[in-house]
Symmetry: C2
Subunit: 357 residues, 2 copies
């Protein structure tokens, strides 16, 4: 480890994972945290509950398809949903820079309320802190992107807002997901196209002309998660946010000691997302999503789960993208490329797109 | 309301309260949030649970008697404790500026762990985000204080860290606190000296020579709260953080439609804290505390509760400071001054000391 924190420590890749394992998990030392699940699961008076937290620092705060408020609700609802919990209550802690527009704060609050209603959760406690306005020493930009024009820099010096949501959910009897439940032969299902969120935010931030055509996929997955749980035997679910599909597949392989093979051809990516990625030298497999879920399911149930996904608006582009080809040896993620070869799909080291969620 | 957020919107006074009531409570519109308790209380499968959240933005992050990590645990443990809950689990969301020292992050993590162990809670889920380093446009300073020397300004441009903790606790049967339970004749008990935290942080921030003599009172109140709950009939508890004793008394008066009289002579203040306050034109009644509790208790039980407090190291300077003198009329807080007069003790408008917790 270096002596100071870098942007990559907040990404979805190796740097962040090492920091969490070497510092937080080691220090806090309890089995619930050590699971490194999207939510921690605990028992209380015979009920199984899930607790999760996420801070949102996305920039810009308003982007095609959503804003930081919608993201803060959906992200936390999703972290509860993918452990099989029904989300119930959220807390909301807001840190605002002095000078922040009250009108924007009202829009964000409205967006939180609408997203919470849609996901059938209630924001029952909150906190507001105000800090002094600051001048960013440098702006977040993707690796290799060109400098911003002056007009844009000044726009980017608006006051910032950061939102933390923590969420509590309940897990019904009979639901028990975990990477340790995954077996060789299990299928890997992805609920839809990848990269939409990251590219939508990036396009808005960089002022690309085509920004209006790509929207963030930001959405709450609680309903679709509950549906698929009834459609077949699911071993594990995770939503591919920071670090994208590649990071989640590598986490599964690493923590479950699994060999995973996925077919590039079967991974749904929008043409325009693919185009921008090619242009900027980004790989959609590593780009953040905010309304997608990766499901590892029993082989025999995969088709039924796929059909269930496809009948839901949030899962209409769902696809079986690969399978668990081994347990206990050849740990790693292998991609059968569109050109017929096979390559290792690595864990990202840091993040190609900072401040994306 | 003005059009933009000011530092005072994050304080413990009128500005913050109006923002919360006019924007968040109105918008999120549910009875648990509308209570504006230190924690929200909800029922789940027959258990009564409490959920709370707080973000910590204190500057400097290390101060006499504590650091931002200890504060983040104690503050959330205390918000659960004062609603009568036994704190169980915490989440921890960290936002770090690029360039932050890993050694400092390790110290803070250790401090979180030690404070959690002491309060018998576990940190079971977390999140880390990294943002770009920023140059503060202006530094937090108390109203009317003199400009900082150059040496100090540069020190204050270290990378920042912000910590959010949310907490879940359980409320045992038979415990039911609320401002609506308060009656005329009830006594007001304060668990110890006020102003220590605010003045300790301010002294360190401003580089006052006497900083070493005053320590923050930052401590977890879970044990002492459970003790006093057994010592008599308690109507309501709240910890006087931002806005200090004066803000909490005014919240009680306003939300309960109560007339409150307190005796200035009976309010414990350390001589050195009083001295610095006099020098800087601050009033200790408005300064933040992080290890104190205000208890409203049945008249007949007040002495027993006081004795219970005084046998605990965290309550040895406890004192009965006043009483509820009326319900339904003359709503407000009245201070019998040390000079024999009586004056209205107002709700603060904004915060005399920003970035204090």
């Amino acid at each position: 480890m270096k002596n100071t924190i870098s942007i990559g420590h907040g990404g979805g890749g190796r740097l962040a994972r090492d920091l969490i394992k070497d510092l937080f998990v080691k220090r806090f030392n309890n089995p619930m945290l050590a699971m490194l699940g999207d939510s921690a699961v605990f028992e209380l008076n015979g009920s199984r509950l899930a607790l999760t937290t996420d801070s949102y620092v996305v920039r810009p705060i308003f982007f095609p398809g959503g804003d930081i408020g919608k993201l803060a609700v959906c992200g936390t609802v999703n972290d509860l949903s993918v452990v099989g919990a029904r989300p119930l209550y959220l807390s909301c802690g807001i840190i605002i820079e002095e000078g922040f527009s009250l009108k924007d704060l009202e829009s964000i609050t409205l967006s939180i309320k609408e997203s919470a209603d849609k996901a059938d959760v209630e924001v029952i406690t909150g906190d507001t802190k105000v800090i002094e306005k600051c001048q960013r020493v440098k702006e977040p930009a993707p690796a290799g992107s060109k400098q911003r024009s002056e007009g844009q820099s000044s726009k980017n010096n608006d006051s910032n807002i950061y939102i933390n949501t923590a969420g509590v959910g309940i897990i019904e009897d009979g639901i028990d997901l975990g990477i340790n439940k995954i077996n060789a032969g299990d299928k890997i299902i992805l609920s839809g196209t990848i990269g939409d969120h990251g590219i939508a935010v990036l396009s808005k931030r960089e002022g690309f002309d085509f920004e209006s055509t790509i929207e963030s996929d930001c959405a709450s997955l609680n309903e679709i998660a509950q549906k698929v749980l009834k459609a077949g035997s699911i071993r594990f679910m995770r939503d591919p946010t920071r670090g994208g599909l590649a990071a989640v597949l590598n986490e599964i392989a690493e923590d479950g000691n699994l060999e995973i093979k996925v077919d590039e051809d079967s991974i749904p990516v929008r043409d325009d997302v693919n185009g921008i990625c090619t242009m900027l030298g980004l790989d959609p497999l590593y780009i953040a999503n905010e309304g997608k879920v990766i499901i590892v399911a029993a082989q025999g149930d995969a088709n039924n789960i796929l059909k269930t996904l496809q009948t839901d608006p949030l899962g209409q582009n769902a696809s079986i993208i690969g399978e668990i080809t081994g347990k206990g040896k050849n740990k790693g993620v292998y991609l059968n490329t569109a050109y017929g070869g096979t390559r290792v799909l690595d864990m990202p080291v840091d993040d190609p797109l900072p401040r994306i969620c």
